[in-house]
């Protein structure tokens, strides 16, 4: 089995991206047939038409049934959302810029969808459905609930519920098609081992996801089909399996074969071919406490870590909920993996994260059931999935706009004056963003509803509505970036302009406009105190900003009658894209260059060492100021995790960080000479993974420029 797993893995790693038009054609046929019907029914029937007619793939990873495309790494296109390559996919792999233009997408398909697609390339994703319910009741249980509510509510709800029933039935039929195909394939198969594998698929697809799972294999098979079906229905990034070790606990097995099964399962998710090999950041979240304070780790937690080590693929990415009571064994294994150049698991501070959600009004049981549903965004399986439907806020852009809008710089006498100007700017900015987003949110569920996905969300079946309007909690994120650049900008303004008076505010504004034509101005700003070094001269501006932002946000929410937003700091790779659109900023950043890649120090390195960086970040009080979660990059030298005693120290450092107020931490453990060797000999380092701001990537697949950037970081640690 292990050999088979490694074959599947190598196939995924070596297969170049191509496209698959099958789903696009089937969707077109579906819309042609059902377009006159109410939108949810048209969507459900189209979904059924797609699943009934998709090519079944029992070849590339025969351990589990399910596939999104006819061939590995062939892009499953979702024309309802347009034939577009997501912006960040191009950012992360330049070769994708004209990818779809170079592919033979027939004109009639393009023409059909030109006026119909809602854009974006895919639905918002960023969700975890209630998999525990799928396993314990089966989709039939959900269909039964929908049928029992049939008479409730208005005709629209009734239609929506009907669409849910049709969609669940479509997935059950899809499983049945696989059961038939697997049985036939097993009969033809000569190899005994493979025959057993195929027969197991045939048998389990008769049971799940229609009915409750009876064992670990069936549970995993049900999850594979459901997760892939959510993508086939139309969701894009970060459709996350959530708290897998908890969900699978009733079926817990603890054998060597368990690791292999989980590895094959992870590869199946990895093979999800929406956008080919581009990372979908499907997040698996392990461990954590429940509301009564009991550690939820079980033998599957370690098995998942082992499986992650075995497959070493960037997607799905794996998080561990870190707290005082995690067993030493789990902590040690996690650090060992990080030290081995896997860049996973990422760590989430249990205490701060759950507390933040409770402060926002989430019930304790639900808050302690949070999981990651994105790069680092937070959600609750089946209950909260609003991280990607909120407004964006580029913190440093607000500062820049405020500065460039000042007409009489001499009238700004001190930082208080400046903060007042910024406050006004922020308020206008937020009001506009929130208003736009409220309108967008209202439309989301109407034009491209996803009844299958919605049926797996608590409350949506009863209410007969889409997940965009029917979930238990509605707490959209206020997604920030550029925090570090903003804080450094404020610290530099205080020191250079108002304190030491090396520069007048007018001169500084002129320098921003001319992109630091005088390099002395820039070096003065770069020399000012910086956030992330445990230096209160800079760190105090982080606190000042957060307090101001929270007050202003509250005012705007009240004025607009909008709901509570959860502040979050999420980057993925958008710091490049944001940076390109922004002029020079007072932190000394040149026009067009990237923003900081996390909420910490650039590149995850403080010249004062890792503890200084963590100390700064601890001051952020995330449960109050970042209840939607932040991402914190930390880069450490490989030597600091190379032996048992240094790994123990790393664990102690993380324990201290999370106990005293850390929310998230993602670690790259780098060695400059090894990276240089990997750049020259990629074939020897096919396993080397790195964490970029919000996703993981195989080092060998990065552009030469990105590789150089990581090597430069590692050299700083030498």
């Amino acid at each position: 089995m292990k050999e088979l797993i490694l074959q599947c893995r190598d196939l995924l790693r070596s297969t170049p991206d191509s496209i698959c038009l099958e789903r696009a054609r089937l969707a077109t046929e579906g819309y042609q047939r059902y377009e006159g019907e109410p939108v949810p029914l048209c969507r459900a029937k189209t979904f059924q038409h797609i699943l009934d007619n998709m090519t079944l793939d029992l070849g590339t990873n025969p351990v589990f049934a399910g596939s999104t495309s006819t061939h590995p790494r062939a892009w499953m296109l979702l024309p309802e959302y347009g034939f577009v390559v997501p912006e960040q996919a191009v950012q992360e792999d330049e070769a994708l810029a004209g990818f779809l233009d170079g592919q033979a997408i027939p004109d009639e398909l393009r023409a059909f969808w030109a006026s119909r697609s809602v854009g974006g390339g895919a639905g918002v994703g960023h969700l975890a459905v209630d998999l525990a319910r799928v396993l314990s009741e089966g989709l039939e249980g959900i269909m039964a609930e929908a049928e029992s509510c049939a008479g409730d509510g208005d005709p629209a709800s009734a239609d929506y519920r009907k669409a849910m029933i049709l969609s669940c039935d479509a997935v059950i039929r899809w499983a049945a098609h696989y059961a038939d195909a697997a049985r036939e394939a097993a009969q033809r198969e000569g190899d005994r081992g493979m025959k057993r594998i195929l027969s197991r698929v045939a048998e389990s697809c008769r049971q799940v996801p229609a009915k409750p799972a009876r064992n670990l294999f069936e549970a995993l098979q049900a999850i594979v089909l459901v997760q892939l079906a959510i993508h086939i229905e139309g969701h894009g990034y970060s459709v996350s399996p959530g708290l897998l070790d908890r969900v699978l606990r009733p079926y817990c097995e603890d054998r060597e074969e368990t690791t292999e099964l989980l590895a094959a399962f992870m590869l199946k998710l990895s093979a999800n071919s929406l956008w080919g090999s581009h990372s979908k950041t499907q997040a698996i979240t392990l461990g954590g406490l429940d509301a009564r304070g009991a550690d939820q780790c079980n033998p599957l937690t370690l098995r998942f870590l082992d499986a992650c080590d075995l497959v070493r693929m960037p997607d799905p990415h794996v998080f561990i909920r870190w707290h005082e009571k995690i067993s030493g064994q789990v902590k040690e294994r996690a650090i060992e993996l990080l030290g081995s150049g896997l860049s996973m698991p990422m760590l989430v501070g249990d205490e701060q994260t759950a507390r933040g959600l409770m402060q926002a009004g989430v019930a304790a049981d639900d808050a302690w059931s949070y999981c990651v549903i994105g790069c680092n965004e937070l959600g609750i399986p089946g209950k909260l999935a609003d991280s990607a439907v909120g407004p964006l806020l580029n913190d440093v852009a607000v500062l820049n706009e405020a500065l460039l809008g000042i007409e009489q710089p001499d009238s700004v006498r001190n930082m208080n004056d400046l903060m007042r100007i910024m406050r006004n700017r922020l308020k206008t900015h937020l009001a506009q963003r929130l208003r736009n987003q409220m309108n967008r949110r209202a439309n989301m569920g109407e034009r491209a509803p996803t009844p299958f996905t919605s049926s797996l969300m608590g409350g949506c079946v009863r209410r007969g509505c889409d997940l965009h309007s029917g979930m238990v909690y509605s707490l959209p994120s206020l997604v920030e970036r550029g925090f570090t650049n903003l804080v450094n900008g404020l610290a530099a303004l205080e020191e250079v302009v108002f304190d030491k008076r090396h520069l007048s505010l007018g001169e500084l504004i002129a320098a921003l406009r001319n992109n630091f034509a005088d390099p002395c101005v820039r070096s003065g700003l770069l020399d000012a105190p910086k956030w992330g070094n445990d230096d209160d001269r800079a760190d105090k501006w982080a606190l000042a900003w957060m307090e101001m932002r929270d007050q202003v946000r509250l005012e705007v929410e009240e004025e607009l009658g909008d709901r509570r937003h959860l502040s979050s700091h999420v980057v993925r790779s958008l710091h490049h894209i944001d940076g390109r659109q922004l002029g020079a900023s007072p932190d000394g950043r040149l026009a067009g260059s990237p923003l900081c890649d996390s909420i910490g120090a650039p590149g995850g390195i403080s010249p004062e060492g890792p503890t200084a960086l963590l100390n700064s970040v601890i001051k952020l009080d995330p449960a109050i100021h970042w209840p939607g979660g932040y991402n914190l990059n930390l880069t450490i030298a490989k030597g600091t995790a190379s032996d048992e005693s240094s790994r123990r120290n790393l664990i102690a450092m993380m324990d201290a960080f999370f106990a005293d107020g850390g929310q998230e931490l993602q670690i790259n453990c780098l060695d400059a000479s090894m990276l240089r060797d990997a750049k020259d000999h990629p074939e020897r380092y096919a396993d080397l993974l790195v964490r970029i701001a919000g996703f993981n990537a195989l080092f060998a697949r990065l552009s030469a420029e990105e590789q150089e950037e990581l090597i430069a970081r590692a050299e700083m640690l030498d």
């Binding site: 004062e608 503890t611 030298a637 005693s645 120290n649 102690a652 201290a656 640690l717």
Partner: protein, 248 residues
Amino acid sequence: MELLVNRIQRYCLHDGPGIRTTVFLQGCPIRCWWCHNPETRAKTSADARLYEVTELAPVLERDARYWARSGGGVTASGGEPLQQAAGLQALLRLLGSRGHHRAVETSGAADSGDVRRIAPHVDLWLWDVKAVSPGTYRKGTGGEVNGPLSNLSWVLKSTETPVTVRVPLIPDFNLDEVELQRIALWLKNQSRPVEAELLPGHSCGSNKGSAGSAQKSISVDSQSLEHARSLFEENGIPVLRKPSGGFA
């Protein structure tokens, strides 16, 4: 009470147990030709900063949360920390009163009175024994060996503070059968058993941080290291196996 500090380094992993903050004090009376911190040798330096002890302690304590969880603490290094005995005593006393673990990394090149003054405030000595033959020691360090050795003997005899002896392995200095044997014998003859670390000439590695180092690195092959190790062990001196370490 004041201390002249060359620099403070956080997250040090090889200067005693746990996560440590190492404070490098300015000034050293000897001149080892292999010295890895030559910037700390002069009595004063443009980079050094004078701290009131009461002002220095809170700066160090910024990492106390990490010491507490890792069994770490503060390590006074140098330079030769015992050269600033009055200030060092005040600092160690203050840190001790707040429950922190204190290590002192020394070559012992100090007045015996200063050693006696500091000793009650030390939780762990990291004691560099570079050589025991007067001629060898003088040639390599420009100093006299008797003082450092009798200071160490006194600590071993008159206190119960744990001592880790650190022997830097330096080719063309002490890396020969005769000198290593003498060091081992000298240690064996002390009033209580000690354990030793053999430092095979790495630079401070990751601990060196962004400060960088223009020093040539001295490397000792694994065969010589193994040989030195067995020589110590044959004399009943347990050798701590550490991945890497720096030497002062």
